[in-house]
Every structure is written in structure tokens, then in C-alpha cells.
Symmetry: C2
Subunit: 196 residues, 2 copies
DNA sequence: AGCGTTAATTGATTTACATCAAGGCGCTGA
DNA sequence: TCAGCGCCTTGATGTAAATCAATTAACGCT
């Protein structure tokens, strides 16, 4: 769908067809094939990214060279390194396509124009930030308190559709465990469910 | 200091003396003694909290009855359950005083008035949110990739002054480890440093 | 001063998960 | 068609941190 972003903003930020048309010049559309990078560690993240279709992931690499997945972004999600974007620092994460992906990229100018043309965009934007914070808090809570199995169950409950689109080792990485451990967790769950 | 919030806003949000005086009616000041609760799990968080002096902590309790500290808030910090505040849900966290603490509480009305009287408040507010997100991202990254020792070292590096004001078991809880483990981590570090 | 309570340490043991290593299974592509 | 490569699984072993338990240290309270 070429105009998913328009639809999304009409729905969530109550932006009219006309208002969107005025903003369109401030957008950039791009396509990425699986494996291609949207952002590389060390670069400064200069724009926000909205996924129109496909699937992206962001991840960091630790000193030992291990990847840690920070976020998945399927269609209708935003992704980007806010720290880098907002404070102009080099990014500590990579953003990479998992599926063939169409994105819309935009920067602060777009946001200002949008807020100017329709004040409800400001409300929408803050809601986005607040929601992001809530989601991050929830994840920290899980990492602090839940076992590997509980975290996996929570994942499939929350992102059910993604479990079929993402290779298992990436889910393991997101959960903070090894692929081997996730495999065993799944075996255990299968065994438990059989017994019913 | 009674008017720490005024100072803070003058410094960070460029709010003048006059502007602050107009906003003051929308503020509530409160004092909490050590152990007293600012917010209880299950309540809806109806205001933002700014710490003028003292120290608060927020924590959640898991199914097993264990506490997990989400945040410390010393003077000049904000704290609150944004999820609950913004989406009107019952809070999943408790906020409690560690030291005798003076706070300022305010709600959306205050923020709107502030943005109205000085637009730079909006910029400040967004910066606050962005910064919060960055901090949460960093913590997730640490929880995913670092050992107990690395997390402790990062903590004392980042919040050096707090390490002397917070009991050790609370630091352990913040780091996601047991007090016993933190005690051993510290013993190890002491041994290592001696050898130099 | 002496008591109770809570915090910190230390040791012994257990456990969840990581690591290392090997094998199978399904792609894809010359 | 089958060689090669990811991905997933399984088993054996290792290890960081949890748990359990006991001791000491520090703190308010009457």
C-alpha cells in the first residue's frame, strides 16, 4: 500500500487529505530489501522512520560482538534512534530490514509543519512518545522480574503475528536469551501443553 | 529550598519570574516522610511529580511478591507513572519516599497553561520525554547485555552521589540482582582494586 | 543500656541459562 | 541434483547468580 502513512495519520492524528498533501513534499520514501541497512551504528539518525509495509529491526552490538535486538517495527510502526536524532549524537544502534520494506522518512521540519497545519498533530505526537515510554517501562519490568519462559509467553501474547515472521534466533535476542535456550523453552511448553 | 521548581524551570524552560507566579496556583506542594507513599499500586496517577528536595523511588511488585525498583528520583527529577497518568489506567507501581522529601505536583492543566504563557515550555517538555526514552533504552541495553558487575559499575558511574544515599539492597533491586549477589560483586571489586 | 528489627556479609548448595559441540532439515542457486 | 549455508534442535558441560541459612553489624525505640 503506497499511501499507508496518509491513512495512518488520517486515522490517528486526524489529518485531512488536503493537509497531508501540503506535508508530502517534506517526506522521503524509500525501499529496503531484506538485510539492507536503514541506519548504521555511528551515523547520526537524522530522520524518523515510519514503516508502510514490511518489517525492520533495530539492534545494538556489545563488546563481545553479540547482537541485542531492541525493537521490531512492522507496518504502521515508527522506529529510529531518538537519542541520536534528538541530541545529535552518533547512533548506538543499527536498523536493518528483515522483509522487503517500504518506509517514509521525515524530520523535525515535517513535524513542525504538521503541528502548524493541524494542532491535533501535537497531541498525537505526545501520545506517541508517552506510549513509547510505557512500552519501554513494561519491557524493563519484564527483564527485571520474569524468567525466559514468562518473557517468551508475553512476547507471543503481545506480538502474536510477528512470531511467524521473525526467525527464532531474533526473538531469542529480543528476549535476552540464546537461541538454544529459546528452543528448549519451546520444547518445554509443547510438552506441558500436550499433557492437557 | 522552597522554590527549587521555580529555579529549575527558569533554568531549563526559560520561564520568567512573572510567568512562574501565574502558574503557581496550579501547583500543589507536599511533604513526605521516609517510608510514606506518594502513589500506591492500583491508584490512577493523576499528576506529575517534581522532587524539590529529598529522594523518592518507584517500584513494582511481581507475582512472587518481590520488589523491582524502576527509578530513583532525587532533587530536580521528575517521577510518575506516565502510563497510568496519560492513559488513565490503574498504576502498576508504587512511589515511596526514601528520605524526607518535598515535592511539587501538577497536572495537564499546568502544562497547558505553561505552554500557553511561554511556548518554550513545549520544547522543554518534549526534551524531557525524549531524554526519558533515551535513558530507558540505555537501561534495556544494559539489562540485555551486561553482567551484574558491569551493571553495578555503570550505576555508580552514572549515579555516583546516589550510591551513598540509597541502601544497598535497593541498588541491587534496581540492577535486577539479589542483595547477596551485590554484596559479592562489591567484595570482588574491592579485591581486584587492592591488587593494583 | 538493652532489645528488636532491618541491613549487610559470608558460606553451602541449587538452578536457570550459557556455552560448546554435533547433527538434521530445509532452502537456494550453479 | 546435490553442495553449501542458515536455522533449529539436542546433548553434555560450565557458570553466574539465586536460594537457603546463619552470623554479624547498625539502627531506632522505650
Amino acid at each position: 500500500m503506497a499511501d499507508q502513512f496518509k491513512k495512518y495519520l488520517a486515522d490517528k492524528a486526524m489529518l485531512s487529505e488536503d493537509e497531508f498533501r501540503e506535508l508530502e513534499p517534506f517526506l522521503t520514501r524509500k525501499h529496503f530489501r531484506p538485510g539492507e541497512f536503514v541506519l548504521l551504528e555511528g551515523d547520526v539518525c537524522k530522520s524518523h522512520i515510519f514503516v508502510e509495509s514490511g518489517l525492520l529491526r533495530s539492534y545494538s552490538v556489545d563488546e563481545a560482538g553479540k547482537e541485542h535486538i531492541l525493537q521490531f517495527a512492522p507496518e504502521n510502526w515508527f522506529i529510529g534512534d531518538r537519542g541520536s536524532y534528538y541530541f545529535g549524537e552518533p547512533s548506538q544502534m543499527n536498523i536493518q530490514a528483515i522483509e522487503p520494506t517500504d518506509v517514509v522518512m521525515f524530520d523535525q521540519l515535517f513535524i513542525e509543519k504538521a503541528m502548524c497545519s493541524n494542532p491535533s498533530y501535537g497531541v498525537f505526537n505526545e501520545r506517541l512518545l508517552q506510549n513509547h515510554i510505557r512500552q519501554l517501562q513494561g519491557r524493563i519490568n519484564l527483564l527485571l522480574s520474569a524468567t525466559a519462559e514468562q518473557r517468551y509467553l508475553h512476547f507471543i501474547e503481545t506480538y502474536f503475528d510477528l512470531t511467524f515472521r521473525i526467525p527464532q534466533w531474533m526473538i531469542a535476542s529480543y528476549l535476552g536469551i540464546t537461541p538454544e535456550s529459546l528452543s528448549r523453552v519451546r520444547k518445554d511448553l509443547a510438552r506441558k501443553n500436550q499433557k492437557v
